[in-house]
Amino acid sequence: MEFLSDIASLINSTLRISTPLVFAAMAGIFAERSGVIDFSLEGKMLMAAFVAAVGSYFLGNPWLGLLLAIIACISLSMLHGFASVTYKGDQVVSCVAINILIIGLTTALAAAWFGQAGLTPTLNEDQRFLEVNLPFAESLRDVPIIGTIYSDILSGHYIFVYLAYLSVPLVFWVVFKTSFGLRLRAVGENPSAVDTAGINVFAMRYKALAINGVLIAFAGAHLSTAVNANFFREMSAGRGYLALAAMIFGKWHPKTALVACLLFGFTDALQIRLQGVELPAIGEIPVQLIQAIPYVLTVVLLAGFVGKAIAPNAIGQPYIKER
């Protein structure tokens, strides 16, 4: 039974840890399917975490914090679009600029407004999201197997965890089953053909970036108003890049990207469990090396056990309308 509850808690934390990755990967799919590279997921996630925490602290309601985070992330997405779609600047440079700007600005403003440590004040219970207990979770707890799965693994997560996994079929439906999704993918593969068909390439890319901003805001709010009760410096800790790697590994497809996100989440959950544990034959692995495992895994996955990743055809190229 000890073993079973260990597994249950490992799966439980995998679901929780994967949540921001899933949101970010879905956000990345929208941008990149439309032909706009988005390395700025990292910066946007950090911005969302900061804005959600500060907004919720001042307004006393985490939903209002989330709303402000969504507005902030859409603005950053628009900035990225302004630089790389309208002004045809280099998309990667624009992303790097946004990431560095946000790392600096969030911490600098947190320090200026709340003191030198660069933390935002701890949110009380009214100002943050709490765990959601699914109905009957308590009464089903003692039923074997079903009780473990329902009460210990599925119940008791933050709202964002459920939203993240619900977003995957939704994104799949929008991208692959609607005419909007068809246009979106066409803009990323062959923009001049789409232009010929009378669809505005620039407007499509801006729309994709706006959806991208909404999705990534959830990832940041999850970090600062759900799992943690405040914002701290560089709290996104590379998750935006991990999610992007998961998306590439998942070949720009929601379902396979989800699998990759869960794999990252599982590795991270395992990594936390392994800290300070004596392993047979190897002994205790130093904590610094264990912490590097998700990053090493990213490199290994990107190097591809699954063959070369084929990006959308027009990715990274600004569209220049012929006259």
């Binding site: 990667v92 600029a97 790392i103 600098a108 200026a112 990213t298």
Partner: protein
């Protein structure tokens, strides 16, 4: 707006006026940030200028930062000419520092100048090796170099903390750092030179690595614009398909460009280890690797532009620390944000006003010519 004939635009418009306009915009936005943080931007500018030029030690600090930014700026620029975004300068510098230290401590029986040369080589080799894996994966597997180099920054940080805590730590001390190198191996500092001329000044980290930065700039200029390698590298970066038709291997050039880039970033370790700390301290690259991106983009990826850009960032860093002393609401992170704004305006948004400025000058020159 009708595009301007590029050949009619004088060089000083596209290479001086436009970058200066972009820089001015970036600094205006930065002033707004300082205002939002609750401080007076004019006062901040005054403090920056006093801190970086106002007294000899402050100016020496400015040149010390310049040294670091020249190395990381050149590193980014070399890879960029091959259209590679090496944002792993931070990790390559960290590992480069390990190379400097290991060589210096293990070859301490040799004459000092030889140890110096070997240590510089160690920095280059270690930095290049850390860039090699992302380069190899980009060339053969198409793994995007931005993600892999970022991951290698994280991995380098973990690895170095592991080494500093468990393997090469100075066990007689508490902090995560190594023992100090023997004193005769330390690079002569600016203070020592000033002392030779009978000028007494207080401590500053400026040392002869500054000369190495000048040498590295000349080396990069020669390599990228005057050698066959450099030509091939730029050809791959400009148009990979055309380069392949011309018989140039993108595979080989991606790896060479990244390794040279990593080696240049590694030189930061020379300045920090031989010149300043004389031992490896945890986290010594301190964001200089990322600043290199802004430096290179502002300097238009040419050594002649990178040197003044590095100097400007030296002013911002040194003057910035003066600001953080005097203004309680400003932390050094404010200057990280300023870097982001500069990258935005001089990199991603460099075309914002370029057509207007170029056509303005071309029209004026035409009027003058016809008058």
């Amino acid at each position: 707006m009708a595009p301007v004939d590029k050949s009619k635009v004088p060089w000083w418009v596209s290479n001086l006026i436009v970058p200066l306009v972009n820089l001015t915009l970036a600094l205006l936005v930065s002033g707004l940030f300082i205002f939002i943080a609750g401080e007076n931007p004019y006062e901040a500018v005054r403090l920056i200028i006093y801190g970086s030029f106002g007294y000899i030690e402050g100016f020496a600090y400015t040149l010390y930062y310049t040294t670091n930014f020249v190395f990381t700026g050149l590193a980014f620029a070399v890879a960029f000419h091959c259209r590679l975004f090496n944002i792993g300068g931070e990790g390559q510098a960290y590992i480069g520092g390990l190379g400097v230290f290991l060589v210096a401590i293990n070859f301490s029986f040799l004459p000092v100048p030889i140890v110096w040369l070997l240590s510089i080589a160690g920095a280059v080799v270690f930095g290049a090796a850390w860039a090699f894996i992302p380069a190899y994966l980009q060339a053969t597997r198409g793994s995007h170099v931005v993600i892999t180099t970022i991951m290698f920054n994280f991995i380098a940080a973990s690895l170095m903390v592991f080494l500093l805590v468990d393997v090469i730590r100075d066990t007689s001390q508490m902090g995560p750092h190594t023992v100090a190198l023997p004193k005769e191996q330390w690079f002569p500092s600016f203070k020592d030179f000033a002392g030779l001329f009978g000028i007494k000044i207080r401590y500053s980290p400026l040392n002869i690595s500054f000369l190495l930065a000048i040498a590295a700039s000349v080396f990069v200029w020669f390599l990228v614009w005057k050698t066959r390698w450099g030509y091939e590298m730029r050809a791959v970066g400009h148009n990979t398909q055309a380069a392949i038709y011309a018989g140039i291997s993108p595979y080989k050039n991606i790896i060479i460009a990244m390794c040279i880039s990593g080696g240049l970033a590694g030189l930061l370790g020379v300045n920090e280890i031989l010149g300043v700390h004389h031992k490896i301290v945890a986290g010594f690259p301190a964001g200089y690797g990322f600043t290199g991106i802004a430096v290179a983009l502002m300097g238009r990826n040419h050594p002649i532009g990178i040197f003044p850009a590095a100097f400007l960032f030296g002013i911002l860093y040194q003057g910035g620390s003066e600001v953080t002393f005097d203004m309680p609401n400003i932390t050094r992170y404010m200057f990280v944000a300023v870097q982001g704004v500069i990258i935005l305006f001089s990199g991603a948004l460099e075309n914002l006003f370029r057509p207007q400025i170029e056509s303005f000058f071309v029209n004026r020159l035409n009027i003058k010519a016809s008058a």
